[in-house]
Structures are given as structure tokens and as C-alpha cells.
């Protein structure tokens, strides 16, 4: 039964990622979180960024019923508008695609990034209803000032259930720190897509993977409407 915590918490953890940075800086979040007046800033230290972002996200989800019920359009809109400053979806996609990225044209890379992002948002938006009284605690952070790639470890706790390990990898860019991978209870998102992406590319090339992602997204969209 070792998978129990993993799968159970995947939903919640993923929700925090997907909705995640999404909610940063919305007026609703600011209003709902008087105690955490800090606004996430990509120029801040990476651990502070993750902490402020997490607090904003949780406050927003708690305050916004439509978001909490997993309204896909709402989540999508928030992420499109707010997540980009803090998450490097292209790097996330590139790492997940791995070797195949080199064969891909700029158009294919853009399509891969767009479809992968849509898949993540779509599948995880439904998990937002799992958020209740959760709080994020930073775990000890070890990094040198000169580091450009760091691991920020957090623990998500609530009155029900066991604490959830939720870690992030961030890279320092000219535009500040950006999240490019997330770890839920030991499972890295990028790593968990690598094999699946590689076998799609082996079978049908880069276009094959794009088609699979696009089809899945369309299928999910129709399923949600139905």
C-alpha cells in the first residue's frame, strides 16, 4: 500500500503547482491574504519566491470558489496571465522531451510547449477542490549565492492527512528565478513524462507526440463539456 500517499497527494500537489503561480498577484489573493502581504517577486531569493507564491496560491484558492471547484477556463486564464513570470514551461517541456528536442523545429517546440502546458493545466485544474486548510512550510534550504540552479523543498500540511512533500527546481535567468520542475512526494514531473514522450517520438516522431498531446487535450475538453 505504499502508493497510497503518493497517488492521494498527487492530486493536491499537482493542484498547487498548476494553480500555483497562477494566482500570484491577483487582487483577490492580495485581499484574501492580509497576513502574507509579500508579493512574489522573481528577483527575490528562490526560497522566498516559492514561499510567497505558495501562500498566494493557497489564499486565492480558498477565496475563489470557482477556482476551487476546478473551473478549467478560470484556471487556464489565471495561469496564462500570471504563471508565465514564474514558470519556465519551455524548459520543462524541453527536459521532458529530452533527446527529441534537438530534432524539433522552432514551430514544433512551440507546439510541444503549448500542448504540454494545456495538458497539465487541464488535468490538474480538477484537483483544486482538494485544497482545504493547507499551509506550506519551507524545509531547510541549502544553496550558495552563486548558484543558478537550486532545489527548494517544502512541506504542505493540513488538519487531515499526512504532510505532503512538494519540492521545486528553479533556474536563475535574466528575468529572475523560474520554476522548471516540481516534485510531489518524490515524483518529479519532468522525469515522469520522459519515457512516455520518448516512446511517442520513437513511434511517430516529434509530430506524433504533438498529435498525441493535441488529441488528448481535445478529448479532455470535450469530456469536461459533456
Amino acid at each position: 500500500m505504499s502508493l497510497q500517499n503518493l497517488i492521494q497527494s498527487l492530486a493536491l500537489g499537482a493542484a498547487l503547482l498548476a494553480a500555483g503561480a497562477a494566482s500570484a498577484q491577483t487582487p483577490a489573493a492580495a485581499a484574501a491574504a492580509p497576513s502574507s502581504s509579500a508579493v512574489p517577486s522573481a528577483s527575490a531569493a528562490p526560497d522566498a519566491l516559492v514561499r510567497d507564491l505558495s501562500n498566494e496560491v493557497l489564499a486565492t484558492i480558498k477565496a475563489d470558489k470557482a477556482l476551487a471547484s476546478g473551473d478549467v477556463n478560470r484556471v487556464q486564464k489565471l495561469i496564462d496571465e500570471k504563471i508565465l513570470p514564474y514558470v519556465d514551461f519551455q524548459k520543462m517541456t524541453q527536459l521532458a522531451v529530452g533527446r527529441g528536442w534537438r530534432q524539433a523545429t522552432p514551430e514544433q517546440r512551440a507546439a510541444l510547449t503549448r500542448e504540454f502546458r494545456t495538458l497539465l493545466v487541464r488535468t490538474y485544474s480538477g484537483a483544486l477542490s482538494q485544497v482545504t486548510d493547507h499551509q506550506v512550510q519551507l524545509r531547510p534550504f541549502r544553496a550558495q549565492p552563486a548558484d543558478t540552479d537550486v532545489l527548494v523543498r517544502t512541506s504542505v500540511v493540513a488538519s487531515r492527512g499526512d504532510p505532503i512533500q512538494l519540492d521545486y527546481r528553479l533556474e536563475k535567468t535574466d528575468a529572475g528565478w523560474k520554476i522548471y520542475d516540481v516534485n510531489i512526494l518524490g515524483v518529479w514531473l519532468v522525469e515522469n513524462y520522459k519515457t512516455q514522450f520518448a516512446s511517442q517520438i520513437n513511434a511517430g516522431g516529434v509530430d506524433g507526440l504533438i498529435k498525441t498531446l493535441t488529441d488528448r487535450n481535445r478529448q479532455l475538453e470535450q469530456g469536461k463539456k459533456a
Binding site: G98, G186, Y193
Partner: protein, 274 residues
């Protein structure tokens, strides 16, 4: 948990799983070095999925609809409490004495004040839960995973973790209950309770995965590695990562990308304890 006693049933189920035969096994199955038994595993996986759809999932849905949340919590805590002796012993075997002592205290407190584990009083008193099983202990001792293995009914595992499950079944408090019907009832409710906790996540995985089998396998292997290192495993890098990296700095629209291979530098994680 009934692995030893139900051996015959398991054999029959394995045969059934073979007969199921309708699993879609990709032509390159078994090429992943971690999963040489992929063809077999995929068939058992399909069998488990089918059984789940017809039996376990509907039961879990009824369970969730009928029982009030506090009762569900009580049962979850109670079943978790049955595992504490095993947690303690495994912590001891891994050389983590203070954790082992803490687990013994947890069991004592929750079984008494917590009314047979119904309430997790110990956590509120500051005694953290440590989930350790014998598969993890073997991992800490340096035993490798061996091939990935999907067990009928039990789901994803590895050769090492299957040995662990065998040992665990003896460490489990439920194993020592002599009244057969009580024991079977506990086992049954425990299984349904477990499945109920997975309902939401199962839906999510079905949507998120391009190939559910691969998604669950890779997730399981990552998760187990994480547990062996108590949540802080050293970073793993594959050979093809290095090849892919140089492109990162060349890709358009990323002027801020650091020099190639910059994230290959030693991770901030401590050295493996193994």
C-alpha cells in the same frame, strides 16, 4: 497481506491475467532495463484495471457515499496504526533508533488514548509519523530494485519490494489476529478504504498520463527511491541529458539561459547514505 495463505488464489489470478491477453503490449516492450518483464506486467496491469473497474472501484464509491467523513478518518487512522510496529522495526533495522522509539510511543498512545488508533493523538503531540516498510529497509541496506513487477491485486512493485511485502505481511498486526472472520473483515474494509482514498487521484492520473502503465511505473520507481532516501535522494542524471543540454543555450527566446551543462554541477543534496 494474505500473500502466504492465498498463494493458490494468486497463482489462479496470474493465470487469469495471462488469459486476459487483451493488453496492448507495445512492440518495444521490455527494452527498458528497469522493466524486462514489461509484456507480462502490462497484462497483469490490464487485469488489475479490469478487476478494479468491476469490483473495487464501485465498492469504494459506495463506501465514500455511505460513511461520514469522521468515520472514514477514524478507519484510515486505525489502519495506519496497525502499521506502527512494522514502522518501528524497520526504523530499527535501518539504524534509526530515535525514530523507532517514537513509533513505539505512537503505537502505545494511539492504541490507548487514541481508541485503537481511531484518533492520531500522537501526531498532535508532536510525534511525527514515519512510514517505513521492509522494501525500504532492503533499499537502505543497498539491495537494488530488481525488475519492476506488477502483482495481481497488489499493483506496482519490484522484486525487492515484493520480498518486502512478504515480510511485511508477517509484521502487520492484522496477521496475528486469530479470528478468521475478524481478520478478513479488517482486510476487506482496509482495502476498500485504501481504494476510496485513491478515487480522485486515479481520475487525475488517467487524464494526465499518455500511457497509464508507464506513468504509474515511473511514478512508483521514483517514489520508492525517494522513500529509501527519506525524501532527499541524490539527483539522478541520465547520459542523454548531457547531450540535450547544449541545445538549451541555443534555443531561441532564452537569452538568459546559462552555459551548457550548468545544472550538471553537484546538487545541493547531501551524499547518499548508502
Amino acid at each position: 497481506m494474505r500473500l502466504l495463505r492465498g498463494a493458490r488464489g494468486v497463482v489462479a489470478l496470474v493465470l487469469l491475467a495471462f488469459l486476459a491477453g487483451c493488453a496492448t503490449v507495445p512492440p518495444n516492450a521490455g527494452q527498458d532495463p528497469r522493466d524486462p518483464l514489461e509484456s507480462f506486467n502490462r497484462q497483469v496491469f490490464e487485469f488489475n484495471e479490469g478487476l478494479d473497474k468491476v469490483v473495487l472501484k464501485p465498492l469504494a464509491q459506495v463506501y465514500g457515499a455511505v460513511l461520514p467523513v469522521p468515520v472514514q478518518d477514524c478507519l484510515s487512522n486505525g489502519f495506519s496504526n496497525l502499521r506502527e510496529p512494522s514502522n518501528a522495526l524497520n526504523n530499527l533495522l535501518q539504524g534509526k533508533g530515535s525514530e523507532a522509539v517514537s513509533d513505539v510511543c505512537r503505537f502505545a498512545i494511539n492504541t490507548t488514548i487514541g481508541l485503537l488508533g481511531c484518533f492520531d493523538v500522537a501526531t498532535r503531540m508532536g510525534l511525527e509519523k514515519h512510514r517505513e516498510d521492509f522494501g525500504q529497509t532492503l533499499g537502505v541496506w543497498g539491495v537494488g530494485n530488481g525488475p519492476f513487477l506488477v502483482l495481481p491485486l497488489f499493483g506496482p512493485s519490484t522484486i525487492r519490494d515484493t520480498v518486502g511485502i512478504g515480510v511485511e505481511s508477517v509484521l502487520d498486526v492484522n496477521f496475528w489476529i486469530n479470528n478468521v472472520s475478524v481478520r478478513n473483515t479488517i482486510f476487506g474494509v482496509r482495502t476498500v478504504n485504501f481504494r476510496h482514498e485513491l478515487l480522485k487521484a486515479d481520475e487525475l492520473i488517467s487524464e494526465a498520463a499518455l500511457d497509464k502503465y508507464t506513468f504509474i511505473r515511473d511514478g512508483y520507481l521514483q517514489r520508492r527511491r525517494n522513500l529509501v532516501y527519506d525524501g532527499n535522494p541524490p539527483r539522478e542524471r541520465e547520459p542523454d541529458d548531457e547531450e540535450a543540454e547544449p541545445k538549451a543555450s541555443e534555443s531561441p527566446g532564452r537569452p538568459g539561459a546559462p552555459p551548457a551543462g550548468s545544472d550538471v554541477k553537484p546538487s545541493t543534496a547531501p551524499k547518499p547514505a548508502q
